[in-house]
């Protein structure tokens, strides 16, 4: 039976048709992938199904009945639950509070906390979704946050679950766990719509795929009748190469050398504990690790954004620990920050102004204390062209750019400053294959120019593909170095989980 049928859905936003006559058919009990580039309209389509947007045209049938989904409440009633791409969790609330919000069990008009926690516990046990019902969202890992999101839908008795890019933020172990959870859910009779950019995941667990491109419906195929390459080309509309062409690295002198580094996190707990690391010119060193093992603090310490408690950080044999961010930048460090909206861009500044965010006070952009916006604009124009940043013009606020193009703008800015050390944190998070390809090329290009590149990514595949050496980080220290040419995802994954290779793994 078709649980979900969306026919001819069209949704327009000012100036853009996000969904243009899209069809989607999902059968009962299947895991159905929705595939498309960034901005293809996947989230929009799902938001329509979840009642957050009203479609301009088209019809929706749920379990055979024609429905008009006027809001999330209605969707809940129809048994539709959604795990959003950007988590919809209230930070200062507890896990339980987030789950019961909107449908709270009460006793005498007051929230019945005990009953709520009990219920959360029982659902989480039933589906194998480990959470701490009393923990505050802001204190738990991304993986657990995602489980909370899933629990929210299950708590409401949803049997059609929408997962919008759930794996983008997870470690390999967590992805495995999630996949297991999804299988459990299907076993319990749920139907899942699954959005991801990772074709491997689709091949692994999905039954069928619907592909959309630039807001238009492309095709619906059964997974066992297709392969990754075909999916990729359907999605992008051309052939894509997955392999990264790169020559053997020719590492030279040491550019970055870190010894016995100790750094505290925002909660004043030690996040980096005696870490040693070195990066040489002409190589890419990847840091692999599960989120929350001190990566962020490490990078912030190097770039001067966080105080170093003890230990040394040397750049070209000069001590740079506890220098101001500007001094670090000046000494030759480029930094593609993890969170592009928070750190990377002033979203309300124009693309042009963002291009000189660190260099605005230097000639030719300024003279004494005057800005020279003519030169700024010229420079921005040049970078936009060179790095293929798709923007209406350089005066557009960067807020209006898509994530991929925002990222390209940051990379353009950082690379063009020609730093000796380029730090790239999660450089392709949430981007589509086309954009990823572009960014990977740029990183390798830097390496080949004899720069030192330090790559931090939660995506193991990316680390394995790009790095010349991989440092695995676990609880604030480097627990092992691996050679990407002679390792497997499994081996690295074990290290990331804090286990030495060869150790017994208890299940």
């Amino acid at each position: 039976m078709n649980v979900v049928e969306m026919k001819g859905i069209t949704k327009r936003f000012p100036g853009i048709v996000a969904n243009d006559n899209i069809h989607l058919t999902v059968k009962e009990g299947e895991i159905h992938a929705l595939l498309g580039e960034n901005g293809a309209g996947k989230s929009t389509l799902m938001n329509v199904l979840f009642g957050l947007y009203q479609p301009d045209e088209g019809e929706i049938r749920i379990k055979g009945n024609k429905v008009e989904i006027t809001g999330p409440n209605m969707a809940n009633e129809l048994g539709i639950g959604m795990v959003h791409q950007h988590f919809m969790l209230v930070d200062p609330f507890t896990v339980t509070e987030n789950i019961i919000l909107g449908e709270e069990p009460t006793k005498n008009g007051l929230i019945d906390k005990a009953k709520a926690e009990e219920e959360v516990r029982s659902i989480s046990e039933r589906y194998g979704l480990r959470v701490d019902p009393k923990a505050k969202i802001r204190d738990i890992s991304v993986g657990m946050q995602q489980r909370v999101e899933i629990l929210k839908t299950l708590y409401r008795g949803a049997d059609i679950l929408i997962f919008d890019e759930p794996t983008a933020v997870l470690s390999p172990q967590e992805i495995d766990e999630l996949i297991q959870i999804m299988r459990n859910l299907v076993k319990e009779g749920k139907t899942i719509i699954f959005i991801t950019h990772k074709l491997k995941e689709i091949m692994r667990i999905c039954n069928a795929v619907t592909i959309i491109r630039r807001g238009k419906y492309v095709d619906r195929v059964e997974v066992n009748e297709t392969d990754e390459n075909q999916l990729a080309s359907m999605m992008v509309g051309r052939e894509v190469s997955f392999a990264v062409d790169k020559e053997e690295a020719k590492p030279d002198r040491t550019v970055l050398s870190i010894k016995d580094l100790h750094v505290l996190n925002s909660r004043k707990m030690e996040a980096v504990k005696g870490l040693d690391l070195d990066v040489r010119a002409g190589e890419i060193v990847g840091i692999a690790g599960v989120d929350g093992n001190g990566q962020t603090e490490l990078l912030e310490a190097i770039t001067g954004l966080r105080k170093v408690q003890s230990g040394s950080i040397q750049l070209n044999e000069q001590e740079i620990s506890n220098l101001k961010p500007r001094s670090v930048t000046k000494k030759g460090v480029g930094h593609i920050p993890e969170d592009r909206h928070r750190r990377g861009l002033v979203l309300d500044f124009s693309v042009s102004e963002n291009m000189v965010l660190q260099t605005y006070y230097q000639p030719p952009f300024s003279k004494v204390f005057n800005m020279n916006y003519k030169n700024v604009d010229q420079y921005a124009q040049k970078l936009v062209q060179e790095f293929d940043v798709r923007t209406p013009d350089i005066y557009t606020p960067s807020r209006a750019l898509s994530g991929g193009n925002q990222q390209k703008a940051i990379i353009a800015r950082e690379v063009d400053r020609d730093p000796d050390l380029l730090i790239a944190a999660q450089p392709t998070r949430g981007l589509d294959v086309g954009a990823i390809e572009f960014i990977h090329k740029r990183l390798i290009e830097q390496r080949d120019k004899g720069k030192a590149v330090l790559l931090m990514s939660l995506e193991l595949e990316e680390v394995l593909k790009l790095s010349d050496r991989i440092a695995v980080i676990y609880e604030g220290t480097i627990v092992g170095w691996v050679d990407p040419a002679n390792t497997s995802e499994e081996e690295v994954g074990l290290l990331m989980a804090g286990r030495k290779p060869g150790m017994e793994v208890k299940q």
Binding site: F93, E97, G102
Partner: protein, 311 residues
């Protein structure tokens, strides 16, 4: 000495009462994500309406009710502008302040033959001793021979705590102020919650103002409120957007005022100019903030208009 302590506490309570009520009003609005810089105006309209109604009916309780209603009515444009029209909430709040002062003094002049203040209200909400408790030395006269509005204020604090932290309504309201989109996906009506919150804030702030014109004082004029709405806002922030925190902050401020006033009675003015004594509450507040309290975490979505389907 004991008398002095009683004096200080009594003055503290008197000063804190309107601040507590108005700060509670601000609490609802800001917890739901709507900045309310218009507390001053809402207090003003409350003080005005209470005085005028009490004069007409000779019943201060009706005055209090009318003030509440007026507060709700005046809060409505703030809700419409900042929730429906997605106006800048600070701008809208400032407009409320202008509007309230304008309308109330305009109407006073139109109603009372050009006079800038209402006649004296004769039937006021006088101090109400609680039998037994008010006999306790020192704290009795201060806390249990207080104005009805004082008891009301304390009641509102406890009620607000329960409402905000123990009921579904409160949880939804806070969720809307932290992450409206998340709340909406959970079926919470963000607009409705914000409207309710802003209107409640109007009602409470107006009661706070009413206390100034029909309990502590007995008339309304342009200066009846005179900046207390802003102090209440400060108390709300000082108290970290928490009912008991705001209660504490307002009381602290009342205490500082009380110290300055009682100090005068003691003849402190022979050594310190009275202006300097009058500065004391404000200086103490800054010192307390700088030394002890520090950073306050505002509701995450405060000040941001919410748009269904926006991103």
């Amino acid at each position: 000495m004991i008398d002095t302590l009683t004096n200080i506490l009594q003055t503290m309570v008197l000063y804190a009462t309107p601040l507590i009520l108005a700060a509670m009003g601000g609490l609802y609005s800001e917890r739901s994500g709507v900045v309310n810089i218009g507390l001053e105006g809402l207090m003003t309209i409350g003080a005005f309406t209470a005085a005028v109604t009490t004069l007409a009916t000779n019943n201060p309780w009706i005055g209090l009710l009318a003030a509440m209603l007026a507060g709700i009515i005046l809060a409505l444009p703030h809700a419409v502008a900042s929730v429906t029209f997605k106006a800048d909430q600070v701008v809208s709040g400032v407009a409320i302040n202008f509007l309230a002062l304008g309308i109330s003094v305009y109407l006073v002049k139109a109603m009372y033959n050009g006079k800038a203040q209402t006649p004296t209200v004769l039937e006021t909400l006088d101090r109400l001793p609680i039998p037994g408790l008010s006999q306790i030395p020192v704290i009795g006269p201060a806390f249990f021979n207080a104005f009805p509005t004082t008891y009301l204020a304390v009641f509102v604090v406890f009620l607000s705590y329960f409402l905000l932290y123990r009921t579904p309504f409160g949880m939804r309201l806070r969720a809307v102020g932290e992450h409206p989109r998340a709340a909406e996906t959970m079926g919470v009506n963000v607009f409705l919650m914000r409207y309710i919150a802003v209107l409640i804030s109007g009602a409470l702030a107006a009661i706070g103002g009413a206390g100034l014109s029909i309990a502590i004082g007995s008339e309304f004029n342009e200066t009846t409120v005179a900046g207390q709405g802003f102090i209440a806002l400060a108390a709300l922030i000082f108290g970290k957007w928490n009912p008991f925190g705001a209660l504490g902050a307002a009381t602290f401020f009342g205490l500082a005022v009380a110290l300055a006033l009682t100090g005068q009675i003691f003849g402190l003015t022979n050594y310190v100019p009275s202006e300097v004594l009058n500065m004391l509450p404000y200086i103490l507040t800054i010192l307390a903030l700088a030394g002890v309290v520090g950073r306050a975490e505002a509701p995450a979505a405060i000040g941001k208009p919410y748009e269904t389907g926006g991103r």
